[in-house]
């Protein structure tokens, strides 16, 4: 499934990132294959979403989260 499908409270593992202009930036920020990500509650309107990764919190738009393949843990 994609990161967009993951709901708040879920912990997932990153499998791959689709090619996009954001890909390298996301990877530099620590979103690489094998990394564990915890989904935090989203913004009140549902978008953007927030994740806890490598001991910090990052928010990204659902459209970009859709390009990240993850597996449930």
């Amino acid at each position: 499934m994609t990161l967009k499908d993951a709901t708040p409270g879920m912990t997932v593992k990153i499998e791959s990132l689709e090619h996009s202009s954001l890909k390298q930036r996301l990877m530099s920020m620590g979103l690489i294959k094998g990394t564990t990500v915890k989904v935090l509650p989203s913004a009140p309107l549902g978008d953007p979403m927030a994740i806890s990764i490598r001991s910090y919190n990052l928010s990204l738009r659902l459209a970009d989260a859709e390009k990240i393949q993850v597996s449930a843990l």
């Binding site: 954001l22 294959k33 935090l40």
Partner: protein, 633 residues
């Protein structure tokens, strides 16, 4: 001994700027890196009789030359080769922070690893063994708690000429660098290479952290708990609106206005009469006296009364920014902003636009993409800045006495609505094919460092003071001259002055808007120099010489003005039309100068100047003509 050069680097949100401010205090200068709109912060300090220069390089997550900030950092370090490079690391967030550290080492740049925010790391359950960390990297590791002067002294103690030469890459790092070079050599596909290297770096980081950090689970952090109310739930948006309302209340009602009143009283009760009296006793010529008192003091004085408002607004915004709340504002507002053709991160710069357009235009630097930056810059002039407020307040008090506050509020709305419409148009036309991106770190909530907040407030607000001292001063002289002279010399009757001719020329295009008097035209022309002048020009030309350009005073002045020819040359409808025009037309020269600085191109200045004028002309025309059709006059 030569000055020791120190460079501060690191991720954003690591307290790097707090350390810079603690090290250099008021002995710092903020300029620009050549050719780009990125702040260049340089400061000085002394320690043990040694002069130390400190440069605060832009915070970056990596150095891949993908953004101007990243390029500045790596170019500076490679070309200037400072004596000491400090990599400020957020100790409560080691993993991502060390990514940059490793990149520096790959470039052969030795760094002092400054573990900052050690107190927060402890709270988050991280126990870091700095000795092991030092061994793993082969680089010195220092612990600091940003605001503590003891740890700053500690840090200063490490700054010596030889500190870097005592350290060499550990074998762990050497191996890593060798692997990186191998990957780069064996693969032609640059992207693939970069991605493999990124994975390699994090693998190394995981290894290092496993050896040097003991983690205890402390459950959800306090910040996450606060966020459940302020960033996630249904209360988030109402709370945000409440906070913004509070900022405006504090600025305009509680602090700003009383201070402004005090200043104004000082000007009119003490300074102005004193100046008059001194000039009389010095036997100064009448024209010079008039120039100084009616021209300069009135003109500059009107601007100075704004200064408390501006500084209070920026203080509040800087304070909120320092707590980390501004990131939440962007987080919550992003989808709403996107509907309007903008981006969540753009909220703060635009809010600043309600104080003064200049820092608002500069604030667009914080936005991620070129398109977001340009659109924000171009729509800022539509907002009701502090200088436009008295225009609205005065006309509303004069022509809509029953509904003055509502009318003024409507003007704010007009500005916001036009800004949104323009943003959408720009999205579909000029910037159609460009992308808007959004990646935002949500830092933990913190108590802001007051030194940093005050320095930032000063930095953003001082531009306004400079404007008062230069442009407004010069312009007050010019307006005074143009209104009191014509080709035959000094003139008693202003309607025969230069200003009258210029005003009449401008006013001729406003036949359909209902305000084609030469006085209105003159006010519009001077308003391009500074919006405050619209009111002072009107005051001078309609004969209320000491018209105060403060909102609250408007009611008193209103009754004075109604009795003059102004009451006769405007009707309620044409006054409304004039207000709309003033709200939307060409930004002041200071704002235009800022647009040139931020965009680097005159074409954008020309575009901003003309499209705002055209929009203002059309909208004010619609207001007037539709109003007449509906029977208002």
């Amino acid at each position: 001994m030569a000055t020791l050069s120190v460079a501060l680097t690191g991720n954003p949100n690591t307290g790097k700027s707090t350390i810079f401010n603690e090290l250099t205090g008021a002995r710092q200068k903020i300029g620009n890196w050549p050719g780009v709109t990125v702040d260049k912060k340089v400061g000085y300090t002394r320690h043990n009789d040694r002069a130390i220069s400190v440069i605060d390089l832009p915070g970056t997550y990596s150095i891949n030359a993908r953004s101007p900030e990243e390029k500045i950092v790596i170019d500076y370090l490679l070309e200037e080769k400072p004596d000491v490079v400090v990599d400020v690391v957020d100790a409560s967030n080691l993993s991502r922070n060390l990514f940059l550290t490793i990149q520096f080492l790959e470039y052969g740049i030795p760094v002092i690893i400054d573990l900052n925010m050690m107190d927060e790391a402890k709270k988050r359950g991280f126990k870091i063994n700095t000795k092991i960390l030092e061994q793993q990297f082969g680089m010195p590791v220092v612990e600091t708690v940003g605001r503590s002067s003891k740890s700053i002294k500690n840090l200063l103690g490490v700054f010596t000429d030889t500190v870097m030469s005592n350290y060499h890459h550990s074998s762990l790092i050497e191996d890593h660098i060798a692997k990186v070079q191998e990957i780069a050599a064996n693969n032609k596909n640059k992207e693939q290479v970069e991605e493999e290297i990124i994975a390699l770096r994090y693998a190394l980081i995981d290894q290092i952290i496993a050896k040097s950090v003991i983690t205890t689970d402390v459950g959800a952090s306090t910040s996450e708990k606060i966020d459940r109310i302020f960033a996630n739930g249904f209360l988030a948006l109402p709370l945000l609106l409440l906070l913004i309302y509070a900022v405006f209340e504090i600025t305009f009602t509680w602090i700003g206005q009383p201070m402004a009143d005090g200043l104004k009283d000082l000007m009119s009760d003490s300074i102005s009469p004193w100046m008059q009296a001194s000039l009389v006793s010095l036997g100064v010529a009448d024209w010079l006296k008039s120039l100084i008192v009616d021209g300069i003091i009135a003109g500059v004085g009107s601007v100075l009364t704004f200064v408390p408002l501006i500084f209070t607004l920026f203080f509040c915004l800087s304070f909120l920014d320092g707590t980390g709340y501004m990131a939440r504002v962007a987080f919550i507002m992003d989808p709403i902003m996107r509907r309007a053709g903008l981006t969540g991160k753009g909220v703060m710069p635009l809010i600043m636009g309600f104080g003064c357009g200049v820092p608002a235009i500069m604030g667009a630097r914080a936005l991620d993409s070129e398109k977001d930056r340009m659109i924000s810059i171009l729509i800022t002039p539509f907002l009701t800045c502090g200088a436009k407020l008295p225009i609205m307040a005065l006309f509303a008090a004069m022509f809509f006495p029953e509904n003055a506050t509502n009318v003024v509020f409507c003007m704010y709305i007009v500005g916001v609505v036009m800004a949104i419409i323009m943003a959408k148009i720009l999205n579909i036309t000029t910037f159609k094919d460009e992308e808007s991106t959004f990646l935002l770190e949500l830092p933990p909530y913190r108590m802001p460092d007051m030194k940093t907040v005050l320095l930032e407030t000063w930095d953003k607000g001082k531009g306004y003071l400079v404007k008062a001292g230069t442009i407004i001063l010069a312009m007050s002289v010019v307006i005074w001259f143009l209104s009191n002279y014509n080709f035959t010399g000094p003139t008693e009757d202003m309607s025969e002055s230069f200003m009258a001719s210029i005003g009449a020329g401008m006013a001729s295009i406003f036949a359909f808007q209902g305000f084609s008097s030469w006085e209105a035209g003159a006010a519009i022309v001077t308003g391009i120099l500074a919006k405050e002048s619209v009111i002072s020009t009107i005051g001078i030309l309609y004969g209320v010489a000491d018209i105060s350009s403060e909102a609250e005073e408007a009611v008193n002045t209103a009754s004075q003005l109604m009795g003059t020819s102004m009451g006769a040359s405007f009707t309620a409808l044409s006054a409304l039309s004039f207000m709309v025009f003033s709200q939307l037309y060409t930004p002041c020269v200071t704002a235009m100068g800022t647009i040139k600085k931020e965009t680097g191109k005159w074409k954008w200045v020309a575009f901003a100047a003309t499209y705002t004028f055209a929009t203002a002309w059309v909208v004010s025309l619609l207001v007037y003509q539709i109003g007449r059709l509906l029977g208002f006059e």
